[in-house]
Symmetry: C2
Subunit: 534 residues, 2 copies
């Protein structure tokens, strides 16, 4: 199934009736053939300094540049064997880059013309490391005869983000379009993260759909399909509530970058994680209703693929999807309210214990298949590597991230009388004089493995003490949620120390000491001990 | 259920008809009240230098010692509130030690008399660290009037190990009675470990029973019981074969000891692990037959307890026992043959993905309960701790080890032309001149998590390369077995380097860099990177 085909299905299967102000967006998408545009936050182009307009007559090495007519550029469109794009007045042959583009072939949507209108919308591309790679593929400049007022005339597309919801001002925004924003550390102290402060990780725009118009299609391995309204789901199946932590594979990437140097992707601190109750129906129950033999699945049925309304796609092993104790839900409530639009309204797959990237939001189609989702988020991103693989890892051989490794973080330090406070993690209240400093944070492990201990060091790991684990009500077949922890330290010992935290889960797995030995260019699963120099 | 009660059940439930030469052993056990004597391999007494007979008139601090009549010692027997034992001519009040004895109250069997006859049989106690602790409890010496030829007259007991099987001479014996012996590294290179070379971890003697006399009793949470012969099990239920690695919680303890100092327990190197195919019936199926509602278990049913013929006991969470994909077996075959006596003949529980201590050998009773097994192996041993807990950890609060963390080891280095070869791991064949050295080993993770990468460093973790994972046939619902790996290194780079290995499983958990931050006095789960100085 190609990406383009999936996009067509959005309009056919789901019968999206957009909210009035969104219809232009959808029209634009259809007209411009702009499906699942760029896989985000992850690219690493190399090109010219943004401020320095490219010399149209010679490259940086003073080689004369070929002048190219726009008609010729247009001939190198999406269907060409050698696609070209224009940025500024420079022309790039991206043939070789297509295979390396983290977003896969969606980059071809810009082929034959200017990439800039797309980048204005997918603003995540507007940074130096993105410009940098593109420069590797420079082949010439646009012939002056085709310039208007010295510029390449660009068709514009309608902003698909225009209908995105408003977000809480406390969220720390890493990219605006699409929205990627993390929860400030001090707001992670509760067992439940409030909906309005829950981190947002969007790969595209936020779909707009009215509940009555929503349809979910289940496609079995034999091609049989069954479609459900939200009312069908609510009425036909028992409602189930679980507590589950959602965590981005890139949570704490910033720490790996600080320790190891460059990583590609959004530089999340400690807040690309949150914990909520999720209410919905079991995917297993719906599959049974759709005719799938969950207790004796055919051998060739190996994966459950999920596709969102905006065409994001991912999959999980079928064994997880049908596990009676796996608690995979089709959730319509988050913390007791309708799921907010940013988090998947009206229906989100919840795959507890797995990387949040598999908990597909705005899910509109579930396909039982012999293979993983073909999406770039399954096949090329959300994988991890090792330090030997450098900047060009072998994406095809690495295993897609599913269950998450054990991690922990310090999220707040309060009550300190005068110590300098680490950025992003300090509550400004409680700054009264006090003899005791309270350090708080979370610890989490995937696969339903409960955190059994959290260790704290004041001397960078030479000696350890144990933090208090905060009791909380877990709901579900396994422990899918994080553990909050608390540790008190005399103010006198606090000043100038390096606070280090590490956690152990019930399989007695622990975190690596530093990020050196788990370094990967994607900065995924940055779960080394968390250190804060006080 | 007390240990003593369990022992009585051995004769009642199972109707043990001992082999002729074993009946004296059992008679002796009943007569002398010597059930599940000492929990082994784990104690750490402190006492006098074995070679120096205690001064009967003054202690090491030259304080005069109380002279005690043997009648008074006898009054401090198993039922006394202050039990005493005699060693040499010294008398010890072990009241405080009973609670700390890793073997629990079984030490009381020796109370009121001499401990030495027991230690001659349970030879694991005959070492300095065991003598050392006992000395803390010295209260006096035996009155000269009770000595015969200057010695305390000791009753002797019949050796319960007399009927133990003969073992392969290649096994590396850590203790003879009970037998604890590991597989040499070079014999771990195959995916399947042969039965005769599979590591032996016995807590007591090896039970002798004829297959026809064997009975398994299932006791449900409501007290209902059902008993099965081996023929019943073979004929009533489908036969299932899985590949599963078994690993002792103490595997690689020696490495932790070498790095961190003292740990209590058998100093296993890399060979307290092995991989086999196990054939038997699903515990889940047998529970269904016995009337247990596996798909809707009562809330109070939380654990499946297993008791062996020799009264060893352990339990696993019920969720594992009844999981349709948990593959918990009652196995009667190991690698295609009847399970050898050392490994559980005629029936052994196999709990794949969990510490081998839960795969109870010679299982004779399975009890569904609201609590864990009361045995000391569940409640006091086979737990892990942290570096802050020192030599007196809080046994009651620590979680019993179930699923195992990720680990790896170098097991053999072959083809080296002249490099000095690390002890215990080198095949003496293949010592011909060669330009390439082949390093081999295993990597394993619990819970059915597959190993996805093995990294090798030649500079103690500064840079890494990847080892080749050896393909092998896994059988079972999950990947319960280890991964063999192989790495070739030019002989020129091999000399003088520190070879380091670490593994990553499919939840992307990795191993800790050193044993410092996971140090625990029991030396359990020593899964830091394995380093070999070449």
């Amino acid at each position: 199934m190609e990406a383009g085909e999936q996009t067509n299905r959005v309009t056919i299967d789901v019968n999206v009736r957009s909210q009035p102000d969104a219809k232009y967006v959808y029209s634009a998408i259809v007209l411009l053939g702009l499906p699942l545009l760029f896989w985000l936050g992850q690219t690493s182009f190399q090109t010219l300094q943004a401020e320095v307009p490219p010399d149209q007559d010679s490259g940086e090495d003073n080689q004369p540049r070929k002048r190219i007519r726009l008609d010729e550029v247009k001939a190198h469109g999406p269907d060409s064997e050698s696609p070209w794009v224009v940025r500024g007045q420079s022309v790039y042959d991206i043939t070789e880059w297509v295979a390396g583009h983290p977003g896969g072939e969606v980059i071809l949507r810009a082929a034959g013309g200017s990439v800039e209108p797309y980048w204005k919308i997918f603003s995540i591309h507007q940074k130096q490391e993105v410009y940098d790679i593109l420069e590797q593929y420079l082949i010439g400049c646009v012939d002056e005869r085709d310039l208007v007022d010295g510029q390449v005339p660009a068709d514009s597309i309608i902003d698909p983000f225009i209908n995105d919801p408003r977000r809480d001002g406390k969220l720390l925004v890493l990219s605006a379009t699409p929205c990627n924003a993390e929860t400030p550390g001090e707001e992670l102290r509760g067992f439940i993260t409030p909906n309005r402060l829950f981190y947002v990780r969007n790969h595209m725009w936020v779909p707009s759909i009215e509940e009555e118009q929503y349809r979910l299609t289940i496609e079995l391995d034999d091609g049989e399909e069954k479609t459900y309204t939200l009312t069908d789901l609510r009425e036909k199946f028992p409602s189930v509530t679980i507590t589950s932590t959602m965590q981005c594979s890139g949570n704490r990437r910033k720490h790996m970058t600080e320790h190891c140097g460059s990583t590609n992707g959004l530089q999340w601190n400690v807040g690309a994680i949150g914990n909520a109750t999720w209410t919905g129906v079991r995917l297993r129950d719906v599959l049974v209703d759709a005719g799938f033999p969950v207790d004796a699945p055919p051998e060739e049925a190996k994966h459950a693929q999920f596709t969102g309304l905006e065409a994001y796609g991912a999959s999980v092993p079928l064994s997880k999807a049908i596990d009676a104790h796996g608690d995979v839900l089709l959730a319509y409530e988050m913390n007791g309210s309708d799921i907010p639009r940013d988090h998947g309204f009206p229906l989100r797959v919840i795959v507890p214990g797995h990387v949040a990237a598999r908990s597909v939001k705005w899910v509109q189609r579930i396909t039982i298949s012999d293979e993983e989702s073909l999406s770039q988020w399954q096949r090329r991103d959300y994988k991890s590597f090792g330090p030997n693989e450098g900047s060009k890892p072998d994406w095809s051989h690495a295993r897609a991230i599913q269950e998450m490794p054990v991690t922990s973080a310090i999220t707040s330090i309060t009550g300190s009388p005068s110590a300098s406070q680490p950025k992003l993690m300090i509550s400004s209240k409680d700054k009264k004089d006090s003899d005791v400093v309270t350090v708080e944070g979370y610890a989490y492990s995937g696969g339903g493995r409960e955190i059994v201990r959290v260790d704290i060091s004041k001397d960078d790991g030479k000696t350890w003490d144990q933090a208090e684990l905060v009791p909380a009500e877990n709901r579900g077949s396994k422990v899918w949620c994080w553990k909050q922890w608390r540790y008190q330290i005399p103010a006198s010992e606090f000043r100038g120390c390096v606070l280090t935290v590490k956690a152990t889960d019930d399989a007695y797995n622990t975190q690596p000491e530093t990020h050196d030995a788990i370094y990967n260019v994607r900065g995924n699963l940055a779960n080394a001990w968390h250190r804060v120099q006080v």
